[in-house]
């Protein structure tokens, strides 16, 4: 197992009361996996991803990468954030943005230039080297962020709702880009999303989370053909079945948490103060 999440629990010490964002999560990713993680809004997806990225210390449990416990951002892992506009540095050109992590890694100049050029070419931005991020459209900015992650040559790529802020057509293109990169580069991807269709379309497996306090509700294998495209895959009857199944699971998760709330009063559920990226509807 390449990436292993074991008994992960995260409790935020709030002002009035502690908020349990994640109760107990255990799952794993093998090398070469493309796994999507969906859950009802406010179920702590962003918290989980930050714990996995080593940006946040879990309260209990651990995350292991290549059987080494993660205590800080590990080498060999790259994160693509939802807020591309804030994740890219406006004071650097596209090339410098992509190059910075490589320079920090101590890679020689020649090789850096090659990696940057390849990464930008693979996301379709070969002619945008000298532009600044703010001169590009939202979809192109997210492509730059993806190129930065690709150039870093990570073993694992974590993506936190990366396409939640782009329009539907751009989103479809970017989804295909991710499938494409995954097949070409063989990188392991964990893709967090609130979009059920996106999760089923992209993933080999879909991990469905419960409402907060969060546990794994189901791990669903996606038995769709390897070759996927927006038109045929999405109209495939198996695709429709799978998405209906995931939808039902998430609705059930929300209903159960409402019942618990009704029984025990206002407890448990709560959103981390930092994560503002959860979607309103599922």
């Amino acid at each position: 197992m390449l990436l292993d999440v074991r008994g992960l629990k995260k409790v935020y010490e709030g002002r009035q009361r502690p908020v349990e964002a994640i109760r107990d999560l255990t799952f794993g990713l093998d090398a070469g996996d493309l796994v999507c993680l969906v859950g009802p809004s406010g179920c702590g997806k962003t918290t989980l991803l930050k714990c996995m990225a080593g940006l946040l210390a879990p309260t209990e449990g651990e995350v292991r990468l290549r059987d080494k416990r993660i205590t800080g951002p590990p080498p060999g892992m790259a994160v693509v954030f939802q807020e591309y506009g804030r994740s890219l540095f406006p004071w650097m050109s596209v090339r410098d943005n992509v190059e910075l992590p490589l320079r920090n890694k101590g890679i020689a100049r020649r090789q850096r230039q090659d990696l940057v050029a390849q990464a930008l070419a693979v996301v379709g931005l070969a002619d945008a080297h000298h532009a600044y991020p703010w001169q590009l459209s939202g979809g192109m900015q997210q492509r730059v962020a993806i190129a930065r992650a690709v150039a870093y040559q990570p073993d694992v790529l974590l993506m936190d709702e990366p396409f939640a802020a782009v329009d539907a057509q751009t989103r479809a293109d970017l989804e295909d880009l991710i499938r494409d990169l995954w097949r070409k580069l063989g990188v392991t991807i964990l893709f967090v999303t609130h979009d059920i269709d996106e999760a089923v379309y992209l993933g080999q497996r879909v991990i469905i989370l419960s409402s907060s306090p969060t546990v794994v509700r189901e791990v669903l294998g996606v038995d769709l053909p390897e070759r996927r495209d927006q038109l045929t895959t999405r109209s495939d009857s198996r695709f429709t079945e799978l998405r209906a199944h995931v939808y039902a699971q998430i609705q059930a998760a929300k209903r159960e948490s409402m019942e618990i709330l009704a029984t025990f009063g206002r407890a448990g559920s709560g959103k981390s103060s930092r994560s503002q990226s959860e979607a309103k509807s599922v």
């Binding site: 800080g72 951002p73 406006p90 004071w91 920090n104």
Partner: protein, 254 residues
């Protein structure tokens, strides 16, 4: 168009000063007409002593400003990056900052007499706070997403200061430098005027005491021009360094 309006406003002022002494509203002894001030300015420019006074003022201004900017940036980054230090120093800064620099004149004289160091001390004290406060704001402005991005790519503390914190704080630093540059000039002239340290200020005092009123006005005009020049230069540098920043680049249509 705004440039033409601005220039015609200035021309109006010059004309007013030219006419006013003849109307008898003010005496020509205290406000000589423009042409006499201009003639005095020509005389001044011809004198070596004028240039050495200008040089002294500029040196005091530049050296004082440089010390204040360097110290303000260093202190601002260290204090801003360490929450404990910030909490410890906040009330002290709020107490020291409002003390008018001129209140330190007696101390400066006590320490350095009428040497340039007196001027420097006042200039540094006044401009240091301008820079420090801006840097403190700038350090607070680091975007958490940018910071997390940098951390997730393994950038260490020093690399994050260099590649994330410093560029974020730079617009604030530039504002601080611009404010400090103006304040530094005010304090340089004040110190020379009051203490008698060498420079344009003491030359103004000498002109006044020797009843060379047109020369006094000419020198005052020179300090004004100096202020305009400094402000223009500061804005130019700002535009150059912050071409990527929203305030300079404007809205980009994508």
């Amino acid at each position: 168009m705004p440039a033409i309006l601005g220039l015609s406003g200035l021309a109006g002022l010059l004309l007013l000063v030219e006419v006013l002494p003849y109307t008898g509203v003010v005496s020509a002894d205290f406000l000589p007409p423009t042409h006499r001030i201009a003639a005095a300015l020509v005389d001044e420019v011809a004198e070596g002593a004028f240039w050495s006074a200008l040089w002294d003022t500029l040196v005091a201004w530049a050296v004082g400003l440089a010390i204040a900017v360097a110290a303000g940036i260093a202190a601002g980054i260290v204090i801003g990056a360490v929450p404990l230090l910030r909490a410890l120093t906040a009330s002290t800064i709020e107490f020291l900052r409002p003390i008018p620099s001129v209140a330190m004149i007696p101390l400066a004289v006590l320490l350095y007499g009428t040497e340039i160091q007196s001027t420097l001390m006042l200039v540094v004290y006044a401009s240091f706070w301008q820079v420090l406060i801006q840097v403190l704001y700038g350090v607070q402005d680091v975007d958490p997403v940018a910071e997390e991005t940098a951390r997730s790519y393994g950038l260490g503390a020093w690399a994050r200061v260099r590649y994330v914190l410093w560029p974020t704080a730079l617009p604030y630093v530039m504002t601080g430098v611009r404010l400090a540059a103006a304040v530094a000039l005010v304090l340089a002239i004040t110190a020379e005027l009051v203490i008698g340290a060498p420079g344009l200020g003491s030359r103004i005092a000498v002109a006044q005491s020797s009843n060379a009123v047109p020369n006094m006005y000419a020198l005052i005009a020179v300090t004004g021009l100096l202020g305009v020049g400094i402000n223009l230069a500061a804005r130019g540098v700002e535009r150059l360094l912050l071409s990527w920043h929203q305030s300079v680049r404007g809205e980009v249509l994508v």
